[in-house]
């Protein structure tokens, strides 16, 4: 007697089940818990108050909280500067690495290194670079005859210094993804353009950029999401100072939960950050889908 075979959809579901369960356990469950906690008053610094249902109280508190808005604005600045910044620098690096070097591995390795470095190390390295007395940046300024700057004591300069560190750190990952994209572009396209007498700049604009668009979008989505979560580099460089001037939303969440132990409010802030991430990502996705559709029509 032959055992009855599973139908194709049933087999598919069965094979997907382990992965789905894993995702439920490590993605859906924590996110659901986060939202659930965000609707409760859970202030561990004040255990006497107990835990109880709070409805949207934590969210209205966030909207009235100047520090929440300030840290969100600061995060927006990091996004607005470092996403295009890392794209431009990363594209440059990718184009450079795509040159026909005789030995490829040193180029690839030097592209990989900043990416492989833990974020907090990058933050510490750049804190030393921008240090007032002993930092290399002020040393160079001094040699050029300029006055040393208090990089990490001024909100504007500190933001600039943090942006420089983030762009340095993020560009290499950007470059790696773009390099992968560059290598999929057939050489024949450039040869044909060459025959038609197109200049290097025209080749870049008419072949490289359009062909690279999918890779650019993926890279932008990754960079934007990590930029929304910016934490380690400003944490190591400024600790949020001067005052709270360079504090990002992720740092404020960290402080609210791990320093102040106010898990209810911290969860609400984290949920808001999650919403920001979702909005940004879906915006990108919609735009890519539309442009891919347009590409197919053409």
């Amino acid at each position: 007697m032959r055992r009855k075979d599973l139908s194709e959809p049933a087999l598919g579901a069965l094979l997907l089940l382990p992965a789905a369960l894993l995702l439920l356990a490590i993605v859906v469950y924590p996110i659901a818990t986060l939202f659930w906690t965000s609707l409760h008053a859970v202030d561990n610094a004040n255990p006497a108050a107990g835990e109880h249902w709070a409805g949207v109280e934590n969210y209205t508190r966030a909207f009235d909280d100047g520090r929440f808005w300030h840290s969100t604005l600061q995060t927006a600045i990091y996004i607005a500067v470092t996403v295009p910044g890392a794209l431009v620098v990363g594209l440059g690096l990718a184009l450079l690495a795509n040159r026909p070097f005789r030995v490829k591995w040193p180029v690839r390795l030097s592209l990989l290194l900043p990416w492989a470095l833990p974020l907090v190390f990058a933050g510490l390295i750049f804190r030393w670079f921008f240090e007032y007395n002993t930092g290399v940046v002020n040393d160079v300024l001094g040699r050029l005859g300029a006055e040393p700057l208090q990089w990490l004591s001024s909100p504007t300069l500190a933001t600039a210094a943090v942006c420089i560190a983030i762009v340095w750190k993020a560009s290499s990952f950007m470059a790696l993804m773009l390099l992968a994209g560059l290598q999929t572009i057939p050489k024949s396209l450039y040869e044909a353009a060459e025959v038609d007498g197109a200049s290097k700049w025209q080749q870049f604009r008419e072949i490289t950029l359009p062909m690279l668009r999918p890779a650019i979008f993926v890279a932008l989505i990754f960079r934007t999401i990590t930029a929304i979560q910016t934490f380690d580099i400003p944490y190591a460089m400024t600790g949020g100072g001067p005052g709270d001037a360079t504090e990002t939303l992720a740092m404020y969440i960290h402080k609210t939960t791990l320093d102040f132990l106010d898990f209810g409010y911290g969860s609400a802030l984290a949920a808001l950050m999650f919403v920001f991430s979702m909005v940004a990502t879906s915006g990108y996705l919609r735009y890519t889908r539309r442009s891919v559709g347009r590409g197919a029509d053409a």
Partner: protein
């Protein structure tokens, strides 16, 4: 027969080994990177020598008090049993009691408690009892002192300053005379870290006021402006380093050790490093005195020091308490004083000849530690600290005026210190 005998012997041997294994306890103690884990290691080795059944792992955490607490909050909020003993800052017992993170020690000490507590410096016996429960035992005491360059004061024939104005004047004279652009006049913690809370409080206390009065916020006083004005004057005259808002506690030691600092407001541990570190350029050139005060005011200082708590989630509480009793003994206080210039928690140890040989300035230090003041006690202390240090830091960076910094400090503290 032979075989049976051999088997019996083997079984017996295994049983003995097994029971010895069962009695072997490994205790894990957590300490901060700035609290001399190397010295803790030596003390723990001494303990193992006397108690061969107890091994001690020393886990080293972050360099600042708040970095350590962030890590401990995650470990203890998840009720992890990995840590047995934890070294906590003197500001933490109230928070630890509220969280239930510390195993109260009363039950373990029994009748000993009444005998033991009066032997400590009173401030530490008090700081470690919250709501009638003994939360921790003191490991070492601390308070801020004025570290100064003896050699430079002698060179310019200036006395050890008694008032802030005198200190600024001396700093000006020495800095102008030395013409060394690296030489800074006076330094204290200014970056947004725990130490900066004391930077604000010391001049406030010196002016005869305090952050709270009867547990309520007390910053509507003229004295609340005093710390800003004092550091403002120091900034104007160039006595404070330009990057004061980037200076964490240990940076004061590093600058002093490199010979780049004339006056520093910092803690007891610095002495040992300045006198003993191989790269110290100021060996034998340092003096330690009481902090200066305002004209007509009194010298004030912040109480510091580290306490030994037994984790409520430890699986070896009884052994952990025994170890804590050892770490909090006059014998270990003396070892720490000699090896690390950690200030003893027992008044008697300050007079010990060997301790005085290693730290001559301890002779005058006892009344300073005894007179040191506490930062506000609150289960929500991290928020209190954040409000004070971030506004002090913003003022030192020059991004907030006295009025703005004080107003923001008050608005953040008001909901907590009602």
């Amino acid at each position: 027969m032979q075989l049976i005998k051999a088997l019996a012997v083997a079984t017996l041997a295994m049983a003995i080994a097994g029971s010895a294994w069962a009695q072997q306890t490994t205790l894990r103690i957590f300490t901060g990177g700035q609290q001399r884990p190397d010295v803790m290691r030596k003390i723990a080795d001494e303990y193992t020598k006397r108690n061969p059944n107890v091994k001690v792992d020393v886990e080293v955490g972050g360099a600042t008090s708040e970095a350590q607490q962030q890590y401990l909050s995650t470990v203890l909020s998840s009720k992890d049993s990995v840590l047995d003993v934890v070294l906590i800052d003197v500001i933490r017992p109230a928070q630890w009691a509220a969280q239930g993170w510390a195993e109260p020690l009363d039950g373990y000490l029994g009748a000993d408690k009444a005998k033991l507590l009066p032997t400590y410096l009173k401030a530490y016996a008090d700081a470690n009892q919250v709501g009638g429960k003994l939360i921790a035992l003191p490991y070492f005491a601390d308070s801020q002192f004025l570290y100064y360059r003896k050699d430079l004061l002698e060179k310019y024939k200036r006395p050890v300053p008694k008032t802030w104005d005198e200190m600024m004047e001396t700093a000006k004279i020495v800095m102008d005379g030395e013409k060394n652009p690296q030489l800074q006049g006076f330094s204290t913690a200014g970056s947004p870290i725990e130490g900066t809370v004391c930077t604000y409080l010391v001049p406030l206390w010196g002016a005869g006021s305090d952050l709270t009065k009867d547990g309520k916020l007390n910053l509507d006083t003229p004295q609340a402006r005093e710390p800003f004005q004092l550091y403002g004057r120091m900034k104007q005259t160039g006595v404070l380093p330009k990057n004061i808002a980037e200076i964490p506690t240990d940076r004061i030691r590093i600058d002093m050790q490199a010979g780049n600092l004339l006056f520093g407001m910092t803690w007891g541990y610095v002495w040992n490093r300045l006198e003993n570190d191989a790269d110290s350029k100021v060996k034998g050139k340092i003096g330690v005195a009481q902090l200066p005060h305002d004209q007509g005011g009194k010298s004030a200082t912040c109480i510091g020091g580290w306490q030994l708590a037994v984790s409520a989630y430890s699986k070896n509480k009884a052994e952990a308490v025994k170890f804590v009793r050892y770490l909090s003994s006059p014998e270990v206080s003396k070892m720490q004083a000699i090896m690390a210039s950690h200030m003893p928690v027992f008044p008697s140890v300050y007079k010990d000849p060997e301790v005085l040989k290693a730290n001559p300035w301890f002779a005058d230090a006892l009344p300073v530690v005894e007179g040191a003041k506490s930062r506000p006690v609150s289960a929500q202390y991290p928020q209190v600290s954040d409000a004070v240090r971030s506004n002090m830091n913003a003022y030192l960076a020059g991004t907030k005026t006295t009025d703005a910094a004080l107003a923001d400090m008050k608005s953040r503290l008001a909901p907590i210190l009602r």
